[in-house]
Subunit: 347 residues, 2 copies
Amino acid sequence: MRATLMYGAGDVRVENVPDPVIKHPTDALVRITASCVCGSDLHPYGQMKPQDGPARMGHEFIGVVEDTGPEVTTVKRGDLVVAPFAISDNTCVFCREGLHTSCSHPQANFWDGEPEEGGQAEAVRVPLADGTLVKLPVAPDSALVPSLLTLSDVFGTGYHAAVSGGVNERTGVTVIGDGAVGLLAVLSAKRLGAEQIILMGRHRARTDLGREFGATDVVPARGEEGIAAVRDLTGGQGTHVVLEAVGHMPAYEQAVGILRPGGVISRVGVPQYEEAPIGFGSLFRHNLRLAGGPAPVRAHIEELMPDILDGAIDPGKVFDATTDLDGVPAAYQDMADRKSLKVLIKP
Amino acid sequence: MRATLMYGAGDVRVENVPDPVIKHPTDALVRITASCVCGSDLHPYGQMKPQDGPARMGHEFIGVVEDTGPEVTTVKRGDLVVAPFAISDNTCVFCREGLHTSCSHPQANFWDGEPEEGGQAEAVRVPLADGTLVKLPVAPDSALVPSLLTLSDVFGTGYHAAVSGGVNERTGVTVIGDGAVGLLAVLSAKRLGAEQIILMGRHRARTDLGREFGATDVVPARGEEGIAAVRDLTGGQGTHVVLEAVGHMPAYEQAVGILRPGGVISRVGVPQYEEAPIGFGSLFRHNLRLAGGPAPVRAHIEELMPDILDGAIDPGKVFDATTDLDGVPAAYQDMADRKSLKVLIKP
């Protein structure tokens, strides 16, 4: 079959690879019908060293079950399914608490940690299929597929940011980042009842979509100027919750700067730093809190899917381009150049 | 009058200073009847540069109101009062939310930020007396004074750690630090219903008091050995909540190491660092959270005082020595040498 491999920064290729096969009795084989490129794929696309490649790419997909191992019981051949970006058994103590990204099963993993599997391909072997896959009640060509595909990562991640940040009717929210996760964090904050949702981003087409998703204010400025603008919008007090969907240090520093005393920074952008200021001069003085991490999107699928199925929300609007597998290398470049917000792949 | 001044690391003196006077209509003058030395006073005692001194010391005290400005209404001459370590108006938007340490009044401050006032003295001018002072329904010589004095900082700080960490009947708790705040964090966790309370500390007399306050386990080991011991005690999973009452980097690193996925580090030890690891390899990977800061002890006084008045708890047991003002320099040294846990001052 054909699959996407990254050989290093800026070097993505679509090549022939061996077809996936059932290896464990809990595996399923899935023929992929829709997948996509993630903002987090752009981190290695910007900096991966050749000696770390080639790596199979893609951790968001919808597909049709082709085969299942003898222990798989919740999905069967012919089912259309969605897979979260993390493989989990959905039964361990952490999964039962809704923290599937810390699943304690030995086979639990991120797709990005599976060297021979990836979602930007024609097919994939899914470990722990009972825990990982969720059946979708639509056909593979449904118009809802783009929105349902966001359940595999970006919508669930934006929602996790909002839930981890404690967003509710009484919190003002600021979202840093106008990528797909940031925009869907806006949608999530709106869903959780936040009245003021400030979106910090400077790409007009994206912030317009953010307004459509529920942003009440848009701040294109960054750094000190951006901080001042958010403080102005919040009566000088700062914002209760920052949903940080970027992962770079300037976004973190901006988050600290715009936060209200007692407020919380909820991070879902994968940090591209390890050390950061958290002492008296940054977080401690005013009881600022820090939350977030890899989103247990599996925990949110059942909750979010009905709103998509009944048309109440349309998170799939974050896809502004579609390609086949041949176009995947160009899709990476378009997203890196910010020509595309998020590219849907029809293998 | 006589007051305590710090001239630099290891150099504490008791000297004659001008008597305090009413400066603002919202001030009160208080004749101090009981105060103490704080673990946080040991930070400057260890490292203060002479050019930063002399500094008036002491931020925990009980005393009798001697005079009040014309706008003071809630306390009057002759009242016995306790003062939190932070001056606040108790009416601003942050105080009303229980975050008195972020009070927005221009005169709000920490006692340590008031250059001409301090609690380790014979008397003190109290700004924003209506907001700051709380009347005590006992006599100045009551046997309850030591416990009531802990409401000014160490008990409220331990309690803030537990509340900020979300301690409840379903959380396992580990307290790092066997100083007065750590021990009262144990008492606080017990009060909030935690069943497992692990105390990390190596001073037997202190950890024994910790057991009396509710610790179910004591871990004297530190570093990797201490982390392994806590993991053993928590079925390998780690602890839900860490109450970090030290403030040094090794305590933070230990906190990260013993935390359960999704768990929270609640810091009340004033951080002696600004940068620390919070990226994918430390907090992010398993959704570890960070909370805490200077405790709004004013918010907790009314809640905690009844338990002291009716004898249900005795947080004053953290005082293991008493001195007059002349003995204050020696009290600092005894606490620095860990000969004394916490020294009560009877001016």
